[in-house]
């Protein structure tokens, strides 16, 4: 398929114009930066995490660049769900209606099952969102405690509780900071998630050795950008093997070639995050390249999705 429909894709019951989504936390809350994008290029706007209470965020510095990557520790700065619904949701409602008609995916954060439930209930009631992504994996906010997404049992508890409060598509955003993703992905699937976002930033540290201190104000940070793409790719493939749910890839995609890699490894859609800081219109440039690439290779997203053929053990060269 070519032409304007060439990028149409589906994440479960959700039909989108494009497989290119924003990565949560890299496109803000209000969607105003979508102004830089052409119609039809952005499949959905995934907004920055919102939490029940306001969070001022972590002390600066919050960013440090690394080779082909960015280490961040923002700390989920947001004004809390009540202010978000009063001030920002009206803007997002406008965005999701014609002429822009960009579906918006909310992102819910919390520190307990009750908080997640409160978030999903509140967001669901606004009727402004095409789906709700549950952020189980922010590495920067637990004050040393592990994110929910590092335990299959904790993931199951949160998703099961959230599932009972919404009929909207519910996406579980998982963490790459685990030894094995498979059991966690399966726990999310069994608990009722409609899709998995794989994954989030990798926990990291940059040291200012002269001052003998971490560079970031909060110490650790989450690594994003092209540097982590092979890790995210491996996890998308692992998740693909473990579950039947649609997978939304998130981790270092910066070009149309990267998007095709993720799709081939099993992703139905791909979030563009840190790379978008290069230029706010990057998603439109990737969309144009992607259309050209699909046409040139004579393939389409659906037949490419998950078509990766794993080499057989006999081909590994071992004797």
């Amino acid at each position: 398929m070519s032409g304007p429909q060439a990028l149409r894709c589906r994440i479960g019951s959700l039909e989108l114009d494009s497989p290119l989504l924003t990565g949560s936390g890299t496109f803000g809350h209000d969607g105003l930066v979508t102004r830089f994008l052409q119609p039809g290029d952005l499949g959905a706007l995934v907004i920055k995490t919102v939490t029940p209470a306001p969070r001022g965020g972590n002390p600066p510095p919050r960013l440090v660049e690394t080779p082909a990557g960015l280490l961040n520790s923002i700390g989920l700065e947001n004004r809390g769900v009540d202010a978000f619904i009063a001030e920002t949701v009206p803007l997002l409602r406008e965005l999701s209606k014609p002429p822009r008609a960009i579906p918006v995916v909310a992102n819910a954060g919390g520190e307990s099952v009750d908080e997640y439930v409160h978030m999903v209930r509140s967001l669901d009631r606004t009727e402004a969102f095409a789906a709700i992504e549950v952020n189980l994996s922010c590495p920067n906010v637990q004050g040393g405690a592990l994110p929910f997404a590092t335990s299959a049992e904790a993931v199951a508890r949160v998703i099961e509780a959230c599932r009972s409060c919404t009929e909207r598509p519910l996406w579980a955003k998982l963490s790459p900071n685990v030894a094995r993703l498979g059991p966690i992905a399966q726990a999310a699937e069994r608990a009722g998630a409609d899709a998995l976002t794989v994954a989030n930033t990798l926990l990291g540290l940059v040291v200012d050795w002269r001052r003998r201190r971490p560079v970031l104000g909060a110490g650790f940070g989450g690594l994003s950008g092209p540097a982590i793409r092979p890790v995210a790719m491996r996890m998308v493939w692992e998740a693909r093997q473990a579950v039947d749910l649609p997978i939304v890839a998130s981790g270092g995609a910066a070009t149309a070639e990267d998007v095709m890699e993720f799709v081939t490894a099993g992703a139905s859609a791909v979030q563009i995050g840190t790379a978008g800081f290069q230029r706010p219109d990057l998603i439109s440039r990737i969309a144009a390249d992607l259309r050209a690439l699909l046409k040139q290779e004579g393939t389409d997203l659906e037949s490419q999705c998950g078509s990766l053929q794993w080499p057989s053990p006999a081909a590994s060269g071992k004797v």
Partner: protein, 273 residues
């Protein structure tokens, strides 16, 4: 709360040239694909090489000058991989430029004197400031321009060419006042050379801005600072450029402000700085 400026755009520009203006600094000229309205001083652009030769994240630069509606000039001191990559481009190279961003300096009545303080490459927002003052037919506009040494008083003749009252200072005494610009300011206020009722503004290294902010608050000056905070996106979406706010300032109880949207220019009363 500030939002993305309505006039911001992302442009594929072309490097017209790089002109050395010190041991480690360049004037970088860009040809834009479209016409920009006249820009307020203090606004900035995110720049990165369009050929992928730079690091992942673009860098913020004050607009130094706007020679024509489709030209922008930047003053760039080479301090790391981002600025180094820009300084190594050849004429004709593509440069990604997202601009104009940020708030810029508050307008000043033409008949009110203005005293500007620049430390090194912190002079960058003040050429446009001087130009705007001249176009308004404004009165006295003083610039105290300090640097480590005389060869780092980048392009200082351009400021006097605009008719600004230029006072140079060097830490090593190689040109002008021997000391830093804050000491020069203090002397000028005490001697009556500068009117304490003037509008003051400073840009430069963090240490200078901290000292200037404390001084301005102590003396009750109406003063602004333009920050050179590290940024991720420049357009208000990454929350990576926070600066702590003063509880009794215009940002109220919220602990941080985004430099890229609500700055980079702030009143010294609104920040804990």
């Amino acid at each position: 709360m500030a939002v993305l400026p309505a006039d911001a755009r992302c442009m594929d520009t072309e490097l017209l040239g790089l002109q050395a203006c010190g041991p480690d600094a360049w004037l970088l000229d860009l040809a834009l694909p479209e016409l920009l309205p006249s820009l307020a001083p203090g606004r900035f652009a995110m720049l990165s090489p369009g050929d992928g030769s730079g690091p992942l994240i673009p860098r913020p630069f004050s607009v130094y000058d706007q020679p024509q509606a489709d030209r922008l000039r930047f003053l760039i001191q080479v301090i790391g991989p981002g600025t180094r990559a820009l300084s190594r481009l050849s004429p004709g190279s593509p440069v990604v430029c997202t601009a104009p961003l940020g708030n810029g300096f508050r307008l000043v009545a033409p008949d009110r004197p203005v005293v500007l303080l620049a430390g090194g490459v912190g002079s960058a927002p003040f050429l446009l400031y001087g130009r705007q003052r001249r176009e308004q037919g404004a009165g006295s506009t003083a610039l105290l321009f300090g640097a480590r040494s005389a060869d780092r008083l980048y392009d200082h003749a351009s400021f006097s060419d605009l008719g600004m009252d230029l006072l140079l200072a060097t830490e090593d005494g190689s040109q002008g006042f021997h000391g830093n610009v804050l000491q020069a300011l203090e002397q000028g206020l005490d001697s009556g050379r500068f009117d304490p009722e003037a509008r003051f503004a400073a840009c430069g290294p963090e240490g200078l801005l901290h000292a200037f902010s404390a001084f301005a608050r102590r003396r009750g000056l109406d003063a602004e600072i333009s920050l050179e905070t590290y940024m991720g996106c420049g357009v208000g979406v990454c929350n990576g450029c926070p600066v702590a706010t003063a509880e009794d300032g215009c940002f109220g109880a919220w602990p941080y402000t985004k430099t890229c949207l609500e700055g980079p220019v702030y009143s010294v009363l609104d920040l804990v700085f």
